[in-house]
Symmetry: C2
Subunit: 300 residues, 2 copies
């Protein structure tokens, strides 16, 4: 089966870059988003768009899902006027969405029963990597699904780790990844807060830790916000409320205690409750009283 | 005052390398340790040794402490036949020991009242960095103490971060460092355990995480033990029972909650209680039941 028609559902922080990468690769995808603003932005790059997945699903060979959460995956595929009922037998759905492994397995089972291929393919990387076609993808699915996905994955990603032939493994790896990512941010904020409380300077802490064995990629990128006092988000507090929620729910289903991830989740929930949900995730440090956080320099 | 006579007390994982580095720099230090085995090893390199600090303290200009904990610092300096009573006015004590900031301040105060200079100078780095004279040092103390320490620090360290003129600041930074280091190991073990429970392969988890934003230096170095099944220690579980103990005690004194560091400490205590205290710190993962840890390949 030759695959000519591509679509990307969800033109958000990952999906927009995915659609861009497919466009650059000559795959001429339809970019689908309810928001007119996102559609206009993709049209400005020369992309085709649609507000409604049902409008183009019957003509689509490869449907890439970059929506926000499991509820949206459910809605797009199996909801009222959902795509699954329109997709041809032998077409492929690639899901880049962070969801519970059990949910991804269930999506795979339902699509398989309709004769549709499915690749469980969560991503690591942000908007910049996505726009550059440099995502890291952790994927699982049948040989047939991998083969059908090859052209799209080449356009989107700089690395694809194959994690077996069953949907769910890709999402399981994403759970491991998000456990570490979220807990590292919470640990970074906790360490920075204790250092400030003891009277150390944020710049000194940043300089010492980033050149020591105590460093993490998250400390290095996130604690810049604290040093500068600028919490303009690249990734928000609310993303980790969601993703650490998935981590802890999954851990319960696996009967596996995750005390550090659970403590980390509470820090993000606390920051959300305090009104910092849409700020950079490093803003969890703002809920700690009496530490004299650096303020943003004016005039920048 | 010209400083000619150097001594290193404690020829352990850090102290032996410090003594070696001073020897290489032509400072001809006395290496002091109760264990004959450590003394013989330093003598084999051409070093002078002693079993008793009181024997050489009166002739020492710069005394470097590399003992295990605060109790030993107290004993060596102020105990029966302690060094402080023997040291000349104007001599210098450099402490590389991980202790509570308040303890380090108290040592500084007591030495100052005896006319002895003091540099609070905890280190980051292991035996290899120490032997190569490549430690990272986080130091605080008077200008006079820094000036007196310069020759020794140049021999021991590749970087010295100056954190102000009051003892305690160096130790405060070390607390921040150890909070991150210990919590990162606990998070790494937690994430690896959840991944194994979900049926992922240890090698896959290691490969994906170490090339992703979820990586930390500790994940990268410590999870090698889990992948290989070899828990031969470079740094042990018991070191973090001690150091995260210092972190949590300090946080209480600062009225500053550290939920992630506290949860991490419990994992190390649990592993100690289960008999893994002298194994590599990654052995905290062994207390998690039912995850099918990789076993060490035989014949290596």
């Amino acid at each position: 089966m030759s695959r000519k028609n591509y679509a990307v559902v969800g033109l958000g922080s990952i999906g927009f870059g995915v659609a861009q990468s497919l466009l650059r690769a000559g795959l001429n995808p339809v970019g689908c988003n309810r928001s007119e603003r996102s559609r206009k932005a993709f049209e400005a790059l020369g992309g085709r768009t649609s507000a409604d997945v049902a409008e183009f699903a019957a003509q689509t060979d490869v449907l890439i899902l970059c929506v926000v959460n499991a509820e949206q995956v459910e809605q797009v595929l199996f909801g009222n006027h959902g795509a699954a009922a329109e997709l041809k037998r032998g077409s492929l759905v690639i899901s880049c969405v962070t969801v519970k492994p059990a949910f991804s397995e269930s999506v795979g089972d339902r699509l398989e029963s309709m004769g549709i291929l499915y690749l469980d393919a969560p991503v690591s990387g942000g908007p910049a990597q996505s726009a550059a076609g440099q995502l890291s993808i952790m994927a699982s699915g049948s040989e047939e699904a991998f083969a059908a996905a090859e052209t799209a994955l080449s356009a989107m990603a700089s690395s694809v780790r194959r994690l077996g032939d069953r949907p769910g493994r890709g999402s399981a790896m994403k759970v491991v990844n998000q456990l570490l990512a979220g807990a590292h941010i919470a640990v970074a904020a906790e360490a920075m807060a204790l250092g400030l409380r003891m009277g150390l300077q944020a710049e000194d802490i940043y300089a010492v830790i980033t050149s020591a064995a105590a460093n993490s990629w998250m400390f290095e990128t996130r604690m810049k916000h604290v040093v500068s006092g600028d919490y303009t988000p690249l990734s928000t507090v609310d993303i980790f409320v969601k993703d650490l929620g998935i981590v802890t729910q999954t851990s319960l289903e696996q009967s596996m205690p995750v005390p550090l991830a659970s403590a980390a989740l509470q820090r993000f929930v606390e920051a959300h409750a305090a009104g910092y949900g849409k700020e950079a995730d490093a803003a969890i440090i703002k809920t700690v009283p009496g530490i004299g956080l650096p303020e943003q320099k004016s005039g920048r």
